[in-house]
Symmetry: D2
Subunit: 135 residues, 4 copies
Amino acid sequence: MSVTHSLSYRVTFGDCDPAGIVFYPNIYGWFDRCFHDWLAGFGGHAAICKDLGAVGAGLMSANADFRRPMRPNDDIRLAMTIRDWGRKTLTLDYEVTVGETVTATGTEVRGLFKPGEKGIVAGEMSALRERVGLA
Amino acid sequence: MSVTHSLSYRVTFGDCDPAGIVFYPNIYGWFDRCFHDWLAGFGGHAAICKDLGAVGAGLMSANADFRRPMRPNDDIRLAMTIRDWGRKTLTLDYEVTVGETVTATGTEVRGLFKPGEKGIVAGEMSALRERVGLA
Amino acid sequence: MSVTHSLSYRVTFGDCDPAGIVFYPNIYGWFDRCFHDWLAGFGGHAAICKDLGAVGAGLMSANADFRRPMRPNDDIRLAMTIRDWGRKTLTLDYEVTVGETVTATGTEVRGLFKPGEKGIVAGEMSALRERVGLA
Amino acid sequence: MSVTHSLSYRVTFGDCDPAGIVFYPNIYGWFDRCFHDWLAGFGGHAAICKDLGAVGAGLMSANADFRRPMRPNDDIRLAMTIRDWGRKTLTLDYEVTVGETVTATGTEVRGLFKPGEKGIVAGEMSALRERVGLA
């Protein structure tokens, strides 16, 4: 079963830089927005983390390919697909489209961070998987 | 005649700070988003500025009152009302609501900035007023 | 005695918008940066809030005047001055300069937010004043 | 010869998210800040692009590994190293450190974007290489 989540977003002036196109870190911000919008359907990140004794479902790594520039007032579609549940990682693929055109793609690898004896450690991802009804 | 424009927006995790509430500069970013979303109905800021020989319909001053904290996944409503067209200024009022609750209000005073002999100067606002069909 | 705090900052490309100048919400972000940099000298916002049983020294209102546009690589100076300690408010004035030129000024009114029976309430500001050695 | 550029930056409250750590897209923003700070030594991005008939030295792809969380008031060091000049790409490696600890690493692949008949195209990177005195 492929789990996906998507949402619409209109690029605003303030998302863009002096070249007139989207400032690229904001595209990662949209990946993160899509992930949290998905979690909202299960109570949201804060409630989920409280349930699981975690401080966050945060990033271990991320990458993106920027295929076409996006500009103010572009109506974009953000789509997230769960690629893989690892023992201590969750891998998510993202695609950004404007109409039929793919403008950016990317991947996030997230961990379920918990307080440990020597600072924050990555916990078992199965806890999150169960919490969102996918285990 | 009262000119208003509004849009919906879902607060995301990344809009918020370590206190768990919206980082306040982002609320001004939503005012700006609402203004540009309104201009999008007339071709957008870039096209309008090109038509008018301007570099931007930018800020001279702004203020806001923060009445209630907003949090991730709050579904907010942004509403803009034109308060006044001055000779060289446009004054806009904003209201942010979550359901029936007003969470923030504010005001922007914008100028129509044009290239001058000694740098950027504020041009006649009537040009923008005509361009958006309100003169 | 006038309490002031200042810091230097170089405007970066990503702070600026398609008009090539600083996106105005970021200027409020610099006010906030200056305030937190001042608190860092007393252990930082998180430690202070923990000591005082507060969730944040957050905003009740803010305003700014934007006098000159700022651009990428401008070396700015941010200066904060404490204007007034009220019973439940702290009023702070800010000035942004590039060389001898004042580019923006503004004011923040902050409260010391604490958990109350019906949500967050503004606590006595004297607690913060004492904590930073000014009472 | 290894070309590197580095700068210091203090993490601010507004860079961080409800988990109390840096919101990850901002780390890419710091990569971009370091790149533009390097270009500032050659007149800055705007002047260089004007000279080269380009609209921007923008992103084709980027990735990062997040090794340790960063928090408000962490004093970080950003270091950029040029890894490779391709025919139409420039590959840059980044490292973020707090004291002796590496907190994040990453890579940007940039193109020199120019106006083409059918939109923006990637131009010869040798033009930028010469402009910064490395050819």
